[in-house]
Symmetry: C4
Subunit: 229 residues, 4 copies
């Protein structure tokens, strides 16, 4: 069942290791088959070098395991909230990548400070509010998804395909699992640049809006002219 998507999700999980975004068993990638309403996700706490495509777990949008002998990632409920609320999202990634997590721990979003950021993120990558004690003690992983959705109220999640969960770390998403991984790579890169920029010029404001418009829109949307065709 969903063998092709399992292979894609499996490879996307390995890509997190290759890009240096995860340590030990940390991190997870999922992908969705929108026509079937089923999500494929990494199993919980399995070592990357022992993982195989067939270990990927299939769950429905309510979190019920439909196929697979292993428990799905403990972050599965967060992924599912994002799939339920963010139309057009085909893949979700969660890491504790070093620089992005440092911003999350500081409770600060990653401001749009230059064109590297603006090529992918159309504005600041926001940091969520902290979860309440009630949310933490309740359906914690689901509430993590809810606070992300709350943070994107009135925003198009495809224009800013990542978020920092306060005191936790980043989630990113994209049209498919590899696209979400690429956004995780870029997020980590812009986080390190933002850190250094802030150290060099502590009071720096965001980049010029016209420049942000130019860079985001030359790669995205109807008038994009970057890349082939």
């Amino acid at each position: 069942m969903l063998e092709e998507l399992k292979e894609i999700v499996y490879r996307a999980n390995l890509a997190l290791v290759e890009y240096g975004l995860v340590k030990l068993t940390w991190g997870n990638v999922s992908g969705i088959d929108r026509s079937k309403g089923l999500v494929v996700i990494k199993p919980s706490g399995v070592a990357y070098d022992e993982m195989k495509a067939e270990h990927m777990v299939v769950v429905d949008l309510d979190g019920k395991v439909v196929e697979g002998n292993l428990k799905p990632s403990s972050d599965t409920p967060t992924h599912l909230v994002l799939y339920r609320h963010f139309e057009g999202v085909g893949g979700v990634v969660h890491t504790h990548s070093n620089w992005a997590t440092s911003f999350a721990q500081a409770g600060r979003g990653i401001p749009a400070l230059g064109t590297t950021h603006g090529d992918t993120f159309y504005g600041e990558v926001p940091c969520t509010r902290k979860l309440t004690e009630e949310e933490i003690r309740g359906a914690y992983e689901e509430e993590t998804g809810n606070v992300i959705v709350e943070t994107f109220m009135g925003k198009n999640p495809l224009d800013i395909p990542a978020v920092l969960v306060n005191q936790h770390g980043p989630f990113s998403w994209g049209k498919d699992p590899m696209d979400a991984v690429e956004h995780a790579v870029i997020l980590e890169e812009v986080a390190t640049m933002a850190f250094k920029t802030i150290m060099l010029s502590p009071g720096i404001g965001p980049m010029d809006q016209a420049l942000l418009d130019k860079h985001f829109l030359r790669k995205h949307g109807a008038n994009a002219y970057y890349g082939q065709k």
Copy 2:
């Protein structure tokens, strides 16, 4: 004698190199056979690429060499103090890993600033007080162990399986040698994140207690639900 434990300790020492936690001949890992009261530890000042499992030295809990032609690590007395006082510890690691050592040099513990920390360390990783001149000039390596034990008075060392020795560097421990190595890896990672977080938000306080409880307890203790079974 203890050939299997020697192999385990040997591999755990090599893992320090693979994880980038040590340079040159720095660092050492030991493991204990609690039933025999014997400890296996890396020899002193031997190059990692010339080291073999049979070079591991066997000592009793008083530090007497029971087997092996090489001198045990000069830090052996510190390891032994930890085994004598910390029940349930099966492996001990000492490194001068870069970021954790920088906190030790600054005389600062590593605060619990996010869930990466809370997944493994149930609160701040403490920094010991400085040793007195008398302790330094006396049984220095043993006193180093003593000051660690003093630092954990009233705390469960398995809840916070690492420490920073002031002006020196980190020790970590775990249920076995590889577990102790994993804690050394995570310690270094949370040290770098804490550094960056503090640079971004100098006055930042520790993470919310409810979130720390949630993350530590979903991986540890009776109601853990992370990982497979």
Copy 3:
């Protein structure tokens, strides 16, 4: 057509990856055949591991594609402005290398703080002014070249073979494509050293002029004595 230059430009593009200066499909290198007035440049948005020498695109100095099935890099108009205005330049490189880009985002040039800098750059690597909204909304990539040329008014671009474009990132150049890549490598290295130096001594001024003269001129110009013959 220009097969040898295509091979050189192709290899120089791959060198960006080997030196760790680019991620994903970022970055581009071009080279010029001055006798023919033709420029060879990387295609837009192609993955480095799928790129071949024959994918390189040939354009004339007005940007018209003379050979090649792929679209040239979207930064081509910037490269062309530099070739038109900077005599003696045979190769141009653009990256978003991490440290140099952080200075660009901070709107700060990289000051000449030591001999590592002075061996290659005869003074501060300048940061351009910000582009105006009109420039951004107009022929943006060409205006990016124009603001670089403006920044070098009265300076010899071969004495300081790199620039930071404000809120964007570095361009470098050299007598040929590999020379321009080497300058990109050195720029990134002096950017990281400058960052750390500024953190250690925030008010530090530029290095002594006599020392800068000595180092630049022992490697460059009529009386150079560094290297073989």
Copy 4:
């Protein structure tokens, strides 16, 4: 002539690359045969991957080339001053390693902040005064050696086997070329730790003298007990 020493010096030069201390053609190592009064040193500006043992150049203590078809490193006169004034030194290394050079650019020595430092350097690694314009315009490379010797007046260079040349970078030395390379590795490591420590605790003073004595003297001198026999 001196084929064995050439091989040793050649391998020590390659070790600089393996340890990540040099970029491009930067850096150089030399070794001395005290009985013959001859020094073997890397040629100037040759790529590491094209270099062979037979390219090493033999010079006498006055800098006259005794054997070799290539020009010796432009830093040769600095090395020779060190061999003439520092008894017991058998190898000298010069790099522009990133962190140590940043301290040199900041005009700051690397303070002894912890036992990693104290195991090798018996006190602060000093930074020289700046050279005068006259020294720079005169026999510059020789004056660089002289200012190092001046910095060590009243100190034993074997107790602190490295120095930072102001606005330039580090030199290190040891009983033989590989020993000098190891000191360059450790210098770079303690430089990064010192930087981070200073960022965390800006007003931090040097480590306790008793702890420094303990660590340096357990590895060096008559009562050393670290390592094998």
